[in-house]
Symmetry: C2
């Protein structure tokens, strides 16, 4: 088959394996991979496992033909790939969250003219605040975004919210939803042309499996 599939580690991994298994591709070798990041299945696909944010990079470059990635990463990165299907799993929202109590957003803008926003999703946050006519100073953080308002680094955060547990544990509440996200199937533009038969069949199978 010689198809290269980029699979995200982390929160979308289990759903990705289930979706791949549902279209009839072997996933057991991937479960047994241990520390290996590349798994070649004889007579089947080659799996490349990466961080979720790296999936578009591998697919855009052609290092992988197709990949599974959250809509959040696509909206942040805007990679030059085809988005072929909504796989339905991994549902969450990209949300603007601030400490519980009076919403500090209006207050911060009233006092200082600007609200300070910590996020991993700089472009999503910029578009959101620009689009709603509010001035924001975006602070890029790479991990534990929920920490930022607690120590005065920011007035609030733009981050993915799934169960809401992290928010509750840190005294934060969801104020506004930027967009909803689920896992998407993406394809390299050249692969999509050269291997239309294989990919079209897969897309139909993924759509049937996800329904």
């Amino acid at each position: 088959m010689d198809l290269r599939i980029c699979v995200p580690l982390g929160a979308l991994l289990e759903g990705s394996l289930a979706a791949i298994a549902a279209v009839g591709l072997p996933v057991e070798p991937l479960r047994d991979a241990g520390r290996r990041l590349i798994v070649e299945v004889p007579g089947g696909p080659t799996y490349i496992t990466t961080r979720p944010t790296d999936v578009p990079t591998y697919v855009e470059s052609g290092a992988a033909d197709i990949g599974i990635v959250g809509r959040d990463v696509l909206l942040e990165r805007e990679p030059d790939v085809y988005e072929l299907a909504d796989l339905g799993f991994g549902g969450c929202t990209m949300s603007w969250c601030t400490p519980a109590g009076d919403d500090p957003t209006a207050l911060a803008i009233e006092r200082f003219g600007v609200v300070r926003v910590a996020t991993k999703y700089v472009r999503c946050a910029e578009r959101f605040f620009e689009g709603t006519g509010r001035k924001a100073e975006i602070v890029k953080v790479n991990g534990s975004v929920e920490l930022a308002p607690l120590v005065g680094l920011a007035d609030g955060i733009v981050d993915l919210v799934a169960t809401g547990r992290t928010l509750r544990e840190n005294g934060l509440v969801e104020r506004e939803v930027l967009f909803e996200s689920t896992a998407r199937l993406i394809a390299n533009r050249v692969s999509h042309k050269l291997r239309a038969d294989v990919l079209d069949g897969l897309v139909r199978a993924f759509e049937a499996g996800g329904a």
Copy 2:
């Protein structure tokens, strides 16, 4: 004391705790913190634990007064902070590494005019290739950089090398060293002015402890 200290999780955590303990500050509450990212020690400092790459962000903004961070992160981020001391631990090199065998760098440039470089350290890599008169296309990846040459995403990687184990496991060899890195003590510029006494004393203690 009311001093806020930003401590990096990951590879520099143990060395940071040892260095902090060596200057006489209590670190046991930090060891017992579990999932908590903020640890206030009554009568002592407040510790904020973050990803290594977020330490400069917290210190630059004043959310933390001082922090411990690798020189690699400082050279990549160039934050507006004071670098007060070389703490000596966490030694490693930032290196240009490619697959074993003939060095593909010259070959790639000869064939395509450009070498493709995967890295988390985009600015460090850009400066290195510009400074040595070679054209490079930098591909930003966020994790498992060593994977990139194996699947054709890049000709080689610019990454931190400590023991070299990851390189060996992936058939890569170190070709050139960009710079050496160790853990550094950094301070917020305003904190450094307002709290010169406390910080000067700490710097002397850190330097004595690290010697």
